[in-house]
């Protein structure tokens, strides 16, 4: 009996992988969700405030990488969106949020919460302002949809 307790190789097994009742989510893998176009966003931000931040905002929210499992693509997209969000002036946030439709507000909420996960120097303050404005439009439902979404951004 003393011999059996020595080996702890069994602790490395993930027993849930072998459960035959394990729920496997059906996933479809469309290819073209590669995240927003970084170069275009860079251009627009460099020309700010001459160019329209709203266009940059809308471009950043296009093509969200919700269907891929590749973390690199998601990180890249998140970085781009956060750059756009943090370079907004506080007074411009509300009209930007108002220009989105329901699914756009849900998507924005998803990015905001992802941005909360890794706070940097000044990102939290501006993200909280974005959160307040997005919450005013989307309500608790948009936050619940961030929590229940299995296709994360």
């Amino acid at each position: 009996m003393a011999k059996n307790t020595l080996s702890s190789r069994f602790r490395k097994l993930d027993i849930d992988e072998f459960d035959e009742n394990k729920f496997v989510d059906d996933h479809d893998e469309p290819v073209d969700n590669q995240g927003p176009d970084g170069a275009e966003i860079d251009n627009l931000i460099r020309q700010y405030p001459l160019r329209d931040m709203m266009t940059a905002f809308h471009i950043a929210l296009r093509n969200p990488p919700v269907n891929t499992k590749n973390p690199a693509i998601k990180e890249r997209a998140l970085a781009i969106v956060l750059r756009v969000l943090t370079s907004f002036k506080s007074s411009d946030i509300e009209p930007a949020v108002k220009s989105l439709d329901r699914s756009g507000v849900d998507l924005l909420m998803k990015y905001i919460y992802r941005g909360f996960e890794k706070p940097s120097d000044n990102s939290s303050a501006i993200l909280l302002q974005w959160h307040e404005k997005a919450f005013a439009v989307g309500g608790l439902g948009s936050i619940v949809r961030v929590l229940t979404a299995r296709k994360t951004v």
Partner: protein, 370 residues
């Protein structure tokens, strides 16, 4: 709107008898209490004690006056009133997890039980052996079945489950009924066939409640991602979904062919409209609080509050809605599913409220139930 507070325990589920003089509720324990209406009060008339686990579903058949209950002890009982006493009959469901929901079929010759065993047990009475037999619908359900609703043709069954999908099954039992005619949901209906499947696709949440309309052509469900969805079987199979800005809804009910009432964690029933074009819109919350009157607090009250609560303000911690906690079930009180005049809600606060559309239409501006 009349609210009756039964006890402080949550009301897990409730069911009305045919003339709405009696209500069967389960106060979050192993028992079912039947209350009889006498004047304006509700008096407890029976206690049904047979289950060994929490009661998760009660349904009262209006015509045959039988009650079916199901519980976390993996059993279901059919209760019949004999000489003023409710006598239980055990139904062998053959499930190895808790039952979650039970509903009599429209003709009351069968009932369906949803369970955590990822299957639906459809039970019918076999008179040769004088017992209830169950048949299982397993495929392709992949998680707990949370809610069921029968189609008016007594054969089709809609099921909402935790695998984020809402499905329409056929529960055709050849021993008790004739072959059904074709419906917009399909024409070939062997037992256990999936006629339609909605939801999933990487999004969505647990489907808490499903409801067929009175014609059976429309199906509505509410899901944990705070959405309400309606699909019209006669107009193809694209469901129209409404993403709400409320907390998730827990129970949904068609109150006319075009209107749906739903209630949930926001403690307030909401009215939605689905027009013939297929689009779903939010109409109104049905529990609009009256403007609260700010009172001048007397000096005595100030000192009392300071003593009791360490505050001098008149801080009211009650919610503005009638229900003080989530509403878990909505049922029809007066009328039927094509034209409901009053509906009833029960919730975790142990209260039962009856809502009257006549007074709601009068008190809420511009509210019209179509």
């Amino acid at each position: 709107m009349s609210l009756h507070q039964f006890l402080l325990e949550p009301i897990t589920c409730h069911a009305w008898n045919r003339d709405r003089t009696q209500i069967a509720i389960s106060p979050n324990n192993h028992e079912v209490h039947i209350y009889q209406k006498s004047g304006n009060q509700w008096v407890k008339s029976h206690e049904l004690k047979e289950h060994n686990g929490h009661i998760t579903g009660i349904d009262w058949a209006p015509k045959s006056d039988r009650i079916v209950t199901c519980g976390a002890d993996r059993n279901a009982y059919v209760w019949s009133l004999k000489d003023g006493v409710w006598k239980p009959t055990l139904v062998i469901l053959r499930i190895n997890r808790a039952a979650t929901f039970v509903k009599w079929s429209p003709l009351e010759n069968k009932f369906a039980v949803g369970s955590g065993a990822r299957l639906i047990s459809v039970c019918y009475f076999e008179s040769d052996n004088d017992w209830w037999v169950s048949k299982h619908i397993k495929k392709p359900i992949r998680s707990t079945v949370l809610s069921l609703d029968w189609h008016p043709n007594n054969v089709l069954l809609a099921a909402g489950s935790c695998d984020f999908k809402c499905r329409v099954f056929s529960a055709y039992i050849k021993e008790v009924e004739e072959k059904p005619g074709p419906t917009p949901w399909g024409s070939k209906m062997p037992f256990g066939a999936v006629l339609a499947e909605f939801g999933g696709a990487g999004g969505g949440g647990w489907v808490h409640s499903v409801s067929f309309s009175s014609s059976g052509n429309r199906l509505a469900w509410v899901s944990h991602d705070s959405t309400v969805t309606v699909v019209d079987g006669t107009k193809g199979s694209t469901p129209s979904q409404l993403k709400t800005e409320f907390l998730p809804l827990l129970s949904v009910l068609f109150i006319s062919e075009n209107s749906v009432v739903a209630a949930g964690h926001d403690c307030c029933p909401m009215l939605f409209r689905c027009d013939d074009g297929g689009s779903l819109t939010f109409v109104s919350k049905l529990d609009l609080p009256k403007a609260s009157i700010t009172r001048n607090i007397s000096a005595m009250e100030r000192f009392r509050n300071m003593d009791k609560r360490a505050t001098t303000e008149d801080r009211n911690t009650a919610l503005e809605t009638l229900h003080q906690n989530s509403i878990t079930q909505v049922s029809i009180y007066e009328g039927d599913q094509s034209d409901c005049r009053k509906f009833c809600t029960t919730g975790i606060d142990g209260a039962m409220t009856i809502w009257d559309f006549k007074s709601l239409e009068a008190s809420i501006q511009g509210l019209r139930i179509m």
